[in-house]
């Protein structure tokens, strides 16, 4: 596997290096670690495509500080152990200038300490449960104060006050379900049930029965990965879809909306800081270029995960341009000077205190294997992490603060 990835990466990098031979400079090493296989490949494959695309764009524009970028993608195969292995390799062997990596929060927490220890700059580019406070890490996706806080009142206004939560059984699901509980209560609602499922669970029969017994107005899915897609299938097969409406903090992060048939998926409401269907000139221009580059193998981008990888690379690039160096501390300081990137999802601004981002948030509904954007909330700050983390006061912090929610 390893050798194959290297060969592929070498093959990819070779023409870039030749193209910029005139610059006569060593390429800057960018490493990506995302699952291209296994249960999480539905998220990983589009993320890799967007990462590669961002790097190619930068190279086509002449690279960074006179040097081309060379990207190496590792496939940890949805296996946490391989994440730490590849992160170590990226830091020690590849001597990467930056590592863009991680999909699940479990994988992020596996590699974040490794990259911190080896002083290798780290970008985590997906929506997650918030609270990471680490000067070496930049989290460019949206967090519950940005997405769940919009999603919950939106659907409660529409459908009612009783919410039943189904969540994946690891840090993302555990913490996000707390956020859902918090926002439900703040809006005068009630959580009537909460179930956790390991990532490999495929039989949701008993859960569907329990939901029917609890008679909620809304089902909130915080389920993650390929195995959990069978929940949406079984939910529709049990005839429940027309009876209890569903919301999700995760659906659409990958290609779920494509895998599900319209009968199974239509009407599910989600919130992300990007949807492929976002109707702006910048997004249209991006999609046209993206499609022209990738042709028939263009992945569907769905929610924000893939787009945030594109934004993450561009934010990092802006930091390097400002620092005029790839030295880690210089880049971090440059990124903390108030970097922003106006891209397909709108304006993304890095918050110097938390290393999180202020983004536009969209609420959308699954429709005919895609999404239809219903509402936009421009420039939402990462207020959850901001309430617990200040890296300017505590530059040596390396933790994930779990926001205390009274349950």
């Amino acid at each position: 596997m390893h050798r194959r990835t290297l060969l592929a990466a070498g093959g990819l990098a070779a023409p870039l290096v030749m193209q910029h031979a005139a610059l006569g400079a060593d390429p800057i090493k960018v490493v990506g670690i995302h699952d291209a296989s296994g249960g999480l490949d539905i998220y990983g494959k589009p993320m890799i495509a967007c990462l590669d695309f961002a790097v190619e764009e930068i190279n086509a524009a002449g690279g960074l500080i006179g040097r081309p970028l060379a990207v190496t993608n590792y496939d940890p195969q949805s296996n946490i152990q391989l994440y730490t292995q590849f992160a170590t390799q990226a830091a020690t062997k590849d001597k990467a200038a930056v590592v863009h990596a991680g999909i699940t929060s479990a994988s992020r927490e596996a590699i974040r300490p490794v990259l911190k220890r080896y002083n290798t700059l780290y970008f985590y580019n997906t929506q997650y449960e918030g609270g990471v406070c680490d000067r070496n890490a930049f989290c460019t996706g949206s967090t519950p104060a940005q997405n769940v806080s919009r999603l919950v009142p939106h659907v409660m206004k529409k459908w009612g006050k009783k919410v039943y939560i189904l969540a994946a059984d690891y840090n993302y699901g555990q913490i996000t379900s707390k956020w859902v509980t918090k926002f439900t209560r703040e809006n005068g609602g009630e959580v009537v049930g909460l179930d956790f499922f390991p990532l490999d669970v495929t039989n949701f029969g008993p859960a569907i029965q329990k939901i029917q017994a609890a008679k909620p107005d809304i089902v909130m899915s915080v389920l993650v990965g390929g195995a959990h897609i069978s929940f949406y299938r079984q939910w529709a097969a049990a005839g429940m879809k027309s009876r209890i409406p569903m919301v999700s903090t995760t659906l659409g992060g990958g290609n779920e909306s494509l895998v599900l048939s319209p009968e199974e998926g239509d009407g599910i409401i989600c919130a992300f800081s990007y949807f492929q269907e976002v109707d702006t000139p910048a997004n249209k221009a991006f999609l046209a270029k993206f499609k022209a580059k990738l042709g028939a193998s263009t992945p569907y981008l769905g929610g924000e995960l893939a787009m945030r990888s594109y934004v993450g690379v561009n934010l990092w690039a802006e930091g390097v341009r400002r620092a005029k160096s790839i030295d880690r501390m210089k880049v971090i300081e440059a990124l903390e000077s108030g970097v922003s990137f106006a891209g397909p999802p709108g304006l993304t601004t890095l918050d110097p205190k938390t290393h999180h981002t202020t983004v536009d948030v969209f609420i959308a509904e699954v429709k005919n294997k895609g999404f239809q954007v219903l509402e936009t909330f421009p420039q939402s700050p990462p207020s959850d992490t901001q309430s617990v983390c200040d890296l300017q006061k505590e530059p040596n912090a390396s933790k994930q603060v779990v926001v205390d929610i009274k349950t």
């Binding site: 179930d195 490999d200 029969g205 008993p206 029917q212 017994a213 390929g226 897609i229 049990a238 005839g239």
Partner: protein, 288 residues
């Protein structure tokens, strides 16, 4: 009332799934004493054959009920001829060989179809039970399991083929002395076990995602069910599946899916401590 009925159906679905995935192993291990560690991969191949057939435009029911068992049955015949036949009576060697086979099959399928999740939606829509609605496919699964169990039982109990098979398993030497081609009986039994596994894998496919490694999720449960069942292949597997499946479902309802699995394994361990020969070591000893 509705709630009890709905929960009952859910428990029956749990039992049926357990019985379904274990039946092929019961034939191979219970009858022939061959420890087939590639059993999970036979299930996986059944699911993949059904998916491929559906994608090629074959009717869903034909794909699940005909294509999958035929494909995996044929594969079973080949495996028996090439591997298992050389290792009868050498239990540890068989384990090693079939474990290798299991790894090779996972690797081959990963190479051919990629390590990603495939699947198709459950047919048959939903069924209303009072205030509850449940998937019609779950009910079909229960029915299919009962029919399959009855079919295997009737073949073994009432047909000359079944009589010869049972005789060969009891005393191969004597059967051979009476002119039974025991080698062919073994080969057919193994292929039949594989076919049943393929059918089970295809029937489970709409419920679970289909990945090359899906067999590993089932193999432990299958062995526990068959071993807890004990010597009487069909009665044992059926009672063990009934017991363990109910414990699992009740645990899932009362607590969480994780605790449901833990409780099931706990019950299996306690049972084997009390009844080391399995359930049918003490009860239903004369059953099949």
């Amino acid at each position: 009332m509705d709630a009890i009925l709905a929960t009952g159906i859910q428990a029956l679905t749990g039992i049926a799934s357990l019985l379904l995935v274990s039946l092929g192993l019961a034939i191979v291990f219970g009858m022939m004493r061959v420890i087939n560690l590639a059993h999970g991969e036979f299930l996986m191949l059944g699911a993949y054959s059904a998916i491929l057939a559906v994608e090629a435009g074959v009717n869903l029911w034909v794909a699940m009920l005909v294509v999958a068992p035929v494909c995996v049955g044929l594969l079973g015949a080949v495996v028996e001829r090439l591997v298992i036949r050389r290792l009868y009576g050498r239990m540890v060697d068989t384990m090693l060989a079939t474990w290798g086979l299991s790894l090779a099959l996972i690797g081959a399928v990963t190479m051919a179809f990629g390590n990603s999740v495939a699947g198709f939606s459950a047919p048959l829509g939903s069924v209303q039970i009072g205030a509850y609605s449940t998937s019609g496919y779950g009910l079909f699964l229960i029915g299919a399991t009962v029919v399959l169990l009855l079919a295997v039982w009737m073949v073994l109990r009432f047909t000359p083929v079944g009589l010869i098979a049972r005789g060969t398993m009891q005393n191969a030497g004597m059967a051979a002395a009476l002119g039974v081609p025991t080698e062919r009986v073994y080969a057919l039994s193994f292929a039949a076990g594989a076919a049943v596994s393929g059918l089970a894998g295809a029937l489970m496919a709409p419920f679970s995602g289909v990945v090359p490694t899906m067999g590993t999720a089932y193999i432990a449960k299958c062995f526990i069910t068959v071993i807890t069942g004990g010597a009487a292949m069909l009665a044992g597997t059926a009672t063990a599946a009934g017991l363990l499946g109910s414990v699992n479902t009740i645990g899932t309802f009362a607590f969480t899916p994780v605790l449901g699995e833990v409780l099931m394994l706990g019950v299996a361990i306690v049972l084997l401590r009390l009844l080391p020969q399995g359930i049918t070591g003490r009860f239903f000893r004369r059953a099949l």
